[in-house]
C-alpha cells in the first residue's frame, strides 16, 4: 500500500523524522562534550600522541601511493558485487510471480539484460587489461 498524499498541514507528520535527527545529533554532541567535561585530560608522551593502528607501531606516511591495480580490482569486484546484490532479491521474488501469465518471461528478460550489461563490463575490463597480473 502506498502512502497517502500529504497535505500542507501534514508537514507535521515528518515530526518523528525530525525528532530522530535531533536525537542523533544531540547524542553525538553530548558524547563529545561530556567526554570533554567529565574525562581527565593528561597530555604527554610520544606514544600517546601516535596514530592508533591496531596496537602496532605506525610505519611510514599515511599518504602512501597504492598500485593503481588495487583500485581496478576493487572496481571489477564491485561489478560482481552489485550483480549479486541485485540477483538475490530477484531470485527471491521470481517464484512468487503470478503463474500463467508472461510476467515470468518479462522478468527473465530483464535479468538477462542486466547480466548482459555485467558481461559487457567484464569484457571491457578484460580488454582494458585489468586481469593482467604481470
Amino acid at each position: 500500500m502506498h502512502p497517502g498524499p500529504l497535505a500542507a498541514s501534514d508537514l507535521a507528520s515528518y515530526l518523528p523524522v525530525g525528532l530522530i535527527l535531533l536525537m542523533a545529533v544531540g547524542f553525538a554532541a553530548a558524547n563529545i562534550f561530556l567526554s570533554r567535561i567529565i574525562g581527565p585530560s593528561r597530555p604527554g608522551g610520544v606514544v600517546k600522541g601516535q596514530t592508533y593502528e591496531s596496537g602496532m607501531n605506525p610505519v611510514g606516511t599515511a599518504r602512501k601511493r597504492f598500485n593503481v591495480r588495487f583500485y581496478l580490482i576493487a572496481m571489477v569486484f564491485l561489478v560482481f558485487d552489485v550483480e549479486i546484490v541485485f540477483l538475490y532479491p530477484w531470485a527471491a521474488t521470481f517464484p512468487n510471480l503470478s503463474p500463467g501469465t508472461d510476467e515470468g518471461l518479462v522478468w527473465l528478460g530483464r535479468i538477462f539484460f542486466f547480466l548482459f550489461t555485467t558481461v559487457v563490463a567484464y569484457l571491457y575490463g578484460f580488454r582494458k587489461g585489468v586481469f593482467k597480473f604481470d
Partner: protein, 565 residues
C-alpha cells in the same frame, strides 16, 4: 511495462552501440580503433531513424500523457545535434598516444588510452538524455538525469591533458552532486506531497486537489536542482569554470546535452503542475481552475502557473539572463563568453516555460518555443565552439597543443581562416537572433509566447538582455571578421581534423538554411508541444476562498506505482 519497450528502441540502440564501442575502442589494431567514432555515428543515426519512426500513442502506454508528442521530436533532435557534436569530437582523446604508437615509440597499451571510454561516455550521456524525454516517473527521470550527467564529469576531466581540465571535472562533479541532491530532495517532497512518483498521477492529483505546501516545496527544490543542469541562477557558478577547463568540443557538448536534459525535465515537471491556475487564488492551496470556470470569471483573473512558482520562475529567468549577460561582457576568453551566454540563453528559455502552452499555436506556445529554441541554440552554439575546436596553438613540451581561447586569438581569422571566420560570424549572428537567420525565428516565439501570457515586464527584460548580448556577440564577430590579424606569429593554426570544420560549417549552414526551409521544424515543435491537461476534465475545484479542511482527502484516484501490475 513491456509495452514501453517500443518507445525505447532508440535508447536501446544507443546502449547496444555503447557496448560495442566500449569493446571496439580497445582493439589492438589501429584500424579497428579508428572505427569507434564511425560506429558511434552509426548508432546515433539508427537511434535517430528509430525515434523518427516512433508514433506516439495517446494514453499511459507511451509514458507520460501530458506531452504525448514530445518523445519523437526530442529524440530526433538529440540524435541530430548529437551527430553534429560527434563530428566535433574527432581527436579529442588519445591524440598524443596514438601518435606515439604510430611512430613506434610505445607499444599499444589499453590502460593508457581513453578512446573507448570517451565515446562510450558520449553515448551514455545521450542515452540518458533520450531517457529523460521518455520519462514518466520521477525515479526514472532522476536516473536518466544522472545517466546524462555522470559521463560528462569524466568527459570534462579527460578532454585535455591539462590540470585545468581535471580541476574542472572535479568541480563539475562535486557541484553536480550537490545539484542532484537538491532535485532528488525535491522529487522526494513531490512524492510526499502528491503520493506518487508517476507524472500522470501527480498531475491528476494536482488537478483534483491543487498544490499543497509540501509539493510546492518539492517543485521549488526540483526546479532549483534542475537549474544546475541548465546553468541558471543560483546554480550557475560552475558553468564558466567548467566550460573553460574542458576542451571546446566538450564545452559544446556540455552546453547542449545537460541543458536539453534540464529543460525537458523542467517541461515535464511544469506540465504536471499545469498552467491553469487562477492568479489570485487565495488560501493555503493553489487551486487549479478549468477553462470553463475561467471563462465564467470573464477574464477577471489571468491564468498561469501557481503564483509562487510563477514568481519563482520569473525571478530566476530575469536573474539568469541578466547575470549571464553582464558577466559575459567582461570576459576576455571566448569560452567564458560562450559559457555566460549559455547561462543567458537558459534565462530566455525560462521565459517561455513560464508562458506555458497558451493556445498551442507556434507563436503562442511557450513549450513549442523552448523545444524549437533548443534546436536553434544547439546549432548556433555548436558552430561557435566548433571554431575554437578547429584551431589550436603551438604544442607545449608534452606535445599538447595550446588551446585557442582568448578573443585576441581569433582576431583576423578572416585572413588566415576565412571559412572559420564566417562560421563564427553566422553562429554569433544566429545566437544574437538577427532577423533573416535561424536565431530570429527561434527567439521571436520566446517573445510572442511571453506576451501572449501577459508577462510584459519579463519580455521587456528579455529584450534588454538581447540587446546587451549583442555587444559581446558583435565583439566576437568583429574580432574574427573585421580586426586585423594579431601581430604575434600566427597564434592559431588549424587542427588536422576535418570533421570538426565540417561540424562548424554544417551548423553555420544550418543557421542560414534552416531559417528558410525550417517551416516543417516549426510545425514539428508545435506538435511536440501539444499539451493535454487533465484539468479540462478534472472535477471542478473546491469553491474558491473556502479554507482547506485537513483530512478531507478523497482516496487518490490514479495510483499507478511501478511494477504493481
Amino acid at each position: 511495462m513491456i509495452d514501453r519497450i517500443e518507445f525505447l528502441w532508440p535508447e536501446i540502440a544507443l546502449f547496444v552501440t555503447t557496448c560495442v564501442v566500449m569493446v571496439l575502442g580497445l582493439s589492438r589494431r589501429i584500424e579497428s580503433r579508428r572505427m569507434t567514432a564511425l560506429v558511434t555515428g552509426l548508432g546515433l543515426i539508427i537511434a535517430g531513424v528509430l525515434a523518427a519512426r516512433t508514433t506516439p500513442i495517446p494514453g499511459p502506454r507511451s509514458g507520460q500523457v501530458l506531452l504525448p508528442e514530445l518523445i519523437p521530436y526530442a529524440k530526433v533532435l538529440i540524435a541530430s545535434v548529437g551527430s553534429l557534436l560527434l563530428l566535433l569530437q574527432a581527436g579529442t582523446v588519445d591524440r598524443a598516444e596514438e601518435a606515439a604508437i604510430a611512430a613506434g615509440q610505445r607499444p599499444y597499451d589499453p590502460l593508457r588510452t581513453n578512446r573507448a571510454e570517451y565515446y562510450a561516455f558520449f553515448l551514455f550521456s545521450l542515452t540518458g538524455l533520450m531517457l529523460c524525454a521518455s520519462a514518466d516517473d520521477l525515479i526514472w527521470l532522476f536516473l536518466a538525469l544522472e545517466l546524462t550527467s555522470l559521463p560528462t564529469y569524466i568527459m570534462v576531466a579527460m578532454s585535455t591533458g591539462r590540470a585545468r581540465s581535471r580541476e574542472a571535472g572535479v568541480k563539475y562533479f562535486f557541484l553536480g552532486a550537490l545539484g542532484a541532491a537538491v532535485f532528488l530532495y525535491g522529487f522526494a517532497l513531490i512524492y510526499g506531497g502528491t503520493g506518487s512518483t508517476n507524472l500522470n498521477a501527480i498531475h491528476a492529483h494536482l488537478a483534483a486537489h491543487g498544490l499543497n505546501l509540501t509539493a510546492l516545496a518539492g517543485f521549488i527544490l526540483a526546479f532549483l536542482g534542475l537549474c544546475f543542469k541548465i546553468a541558471a541562477v543560483p546554480m550557475h557558478f560552475y558553468a564558466a569554470d567548467v566550460y573553460q577547463g574542458a576542451a571546446p568540443q566538450v564545452s559544446a557538448f556540455l552546453a547542449f546535452v545537460p541543458k536539453a536534459a534540464g529543460f525537458i525535465s523542467i517541461l515535464l515537471l511544469t506540465a504536471t503542475i499545469g498552467w491553469s491556475y487562477a492568479a489570485d487564488a487565495q488560501g493555503p492551496l493553489y487551486t487549479p481552475i478549468t477553462q470553463s470556470a475561467y471563462d465564467a470569471l470573464e477574464g477577471a483573473v489571468s491564468m498561469g502557473l501557481p503564483e509562487p512558482i510563477r514568481v519563482f520562475l520569473w525571478v530566476i529567468a530575469a536573474l539568469t539572463m541578466t547575470v549571464g549577460n553582464v558577466l559575459a561582457i567582461l570576459q576576455k576568453s571566448v569560452k567564458r563568453i560562450l559559457a555566460y551566454s549559455s547561462i543567458a540563453h537558459s534565462g530566455y528559455m525560462l521565459v517561455a516555460v513560464l508562458a506555458g502552452p497558451n493556445n498551442g499555436t507556434f507563436s503562442q506556445s511557450g513549450l513549442a518555443a523552448v523545444l524549437f529554441y533548443l534546436l536553434v541554440y544547439g546549432v548556433g552554439n555548436l558552430g561557435a565552439f566548433a571554431v575554437l575546436a578547429c584551431l589550436e596553438g603551438r604544442p607545449d613540451a608534452d606535445g599538447e597543443p595550446a588551446e585557442i581561447e582568448d578573443v585576441d586569438d581569433i582576431r583576423g581569422l578572416w585572413k588566415t581562416r576565412p571559412l572559420l571566420a564566417w562560421v563564427m560570424t553566422l553562429s554569433c549572428l544566429g545566437l544574437m537572433g538577427l532577423p533573416p537567420l535561424l536565431g530570429f525565428f527561434g527567439k521571436l516565439p520566446l517573445f510572442t509566447s511571453g506576451l501572449a501570457a501577459g508577462e510584459i515586464v519579463l519580455v521587456v527584460i528579455l529584450g534588454l538582455n538581447s540587446a546587451v548580448a549583442a555587444y559581446y556577440y558583435l565583439r566576437l564577430i568583429k574580432a574574427s571578421l573585421i580586426d586585423p590579424p594579431s601581430d604575434a606569429d600566427l597564434p592559431a593554426t588549424p587542427t588536422p581534423f576535418a570533421t570538426r570544420t565540417l561540424a562548424g560549417v554544417l551548423s553555420a549552414a544550418g543557421v542560414v538554411v534552416l531559417a528558410f526551409v525550417g517551416g516543417g521544424l516549426m510545425d514539428r515543435s508545435e506538435r511536440a508541444a501539444r499539451y493535454t491537461s487533465m484539468m479540462a476534465v478534472a472535477p471542478p475545484p473546491p469553491p474558491r476562498k473556502t479554507p482547506y479542511v485537513p483530512g478531507d482527502d478523497t482516496p487518490f484516484p490514479l495510483p499507478i506505482p511501478i511494477g504493481a501490475r
